[in-house]
């Protein structure tokens, strides 16, 4: 298992778990959860500095970008142009080229606007970014994004922040089977077993935020997620036994006294 690394756009990650940095009580709790999760990539948002409070704590004071890969996102962008503008600025903070594209639509379900996502992905790739793209669990769109040159395909398991688990394992599996770049379930995981299911389907990784941040004990849940992702990955590589209709005794029936 030592060589079983997640590789995205030529970058190697030791963990297949990527965690968000939103919704935590504070950055200190976020940093502790990150440590417990073993993740080496975190998503971050780009926002205006509150210039009237220059002494407010900053994320970079708690999570060192030299040790953990920052994956700037485009949350809040509704057009390709907004996404490019935001990520060009993100790049200037520290030279980040690997980014997460998300172009959302209706706040009720936060489904990606796939038409605009495709357009934005093209703009970002043309601008030199390595794009990890949040998308619907539609294999047709996933194929289009891969053909365009996205670095990772990140279908939702369920709506963002819902914690409902993998709603459409058939589609996730179809996407896994057809895709050559990493497939990472992004959104929808609620508890450890959901992450394991995603990994057992053959996904290359799982990205989650709320499942950890809104657990009663985020640090313990972060640790649970670390194990869940490893368990799912190993089970996938090991290859599960076939499902059978009837029982099959584990102790031999021959030689009974």
């Amino acid at each position: 298992m030592a060589s079983d690394k997640l590789i995205v756009a030529g970058r190697e990650f030791s963990s297949r778990l990527i965690i968000g940095t939103g919704k935590y009580k504070d950055y200190a709790q976020n940093a502790a959860a990150l440590e417990a999760s073993g993740a080496d990539m975190v998503t971050v948002a780009v926002r205006r500095v509150n210039i009237s409070k220059p002494d407010e704590p900053m994320l970079m004071d708690f999570i060192d970008p030299a040790k953990v890969t920052y994956l700037p996102n485009t949350a809040g962008c509704f057009t390709g142009e907004d996404a490019v503008r935001t990520l060009r600025l993100a790049k200037e903070v520290g030279g980040w080229n690997l980014v997460k594209l998300e172009v959302l639509s209706d706040p009720k379900h936060l489904y990606p606007d796939m038409e605009e996502t495709l357009r934005a992905a093209k703009l970002l790739i043309d601008d030199g970014f390595d794009v990890m793209v949040y998308c619907s669990d539609d294999p047709v769109f996933a194929r289009k994004l891969e053909d365009m040159g996205c670095a990772a395909i990140m279908p939702l398991g369920a709506p963002i922040g819902s914690g409902l688990g993998i709603q459409n394992p058939v589609n996730i599996r179809l996407i896994v089977e057809q895709t050559k770049v990493p497939v990472i379930v992004d959104a929808g995981v609620g508890t450890a077993s959901d992450a394991t299911v995603a990994m057992e389907l053959g996904c290359d990784g799982v990205l989650m935020n709320t499942a950890i941040a809104e657990a009663k004990d985020p640090i313990q849940m972060a640790r649970a997620m670390k194990h869940a992702v490893i368990a799912g990955r190993e089970a996938y590589l090991a290859g599960r036994m076939p499902r059978k209709k009837y029982a099959d005794p584990s102790s031999p029936l021959a030689g009974l006294i």
Partner: protein
């Protein structure tokens, strides 16, 4: 000199301010932020010589928690 910084008007700033001087004036750490001036990214390497003009619209951003 007047500037619009993160959508807010700032009046009475000294003329001839560079981006680096403005950041110092605002007490913001260069390492953790990025600056856009009139929709163009200002490369960090040029903060020291990038002169601001009256009416410039600046965005100063950093990273916060997000998913």
């Amino acid at each position: 000199m007047n500037l619009v910084i993160n959508g807010e008007e700032h009046t009475g700033l000294p003329a001839g301010l560079t981006v680096a001087a403005l950041l110092k004036h605002l007490n913001l750490p260069e390492r953790k932020i990025a600056v856009e001036r009139n929709l163009q990214v200002v490369p960090k390497s040029t903060f020291g010589k990038a002169l601001l003009s009256d009416g410039d619209r600046l965005e100063i951003i950093h990273f916060i928690g997000g998913g």
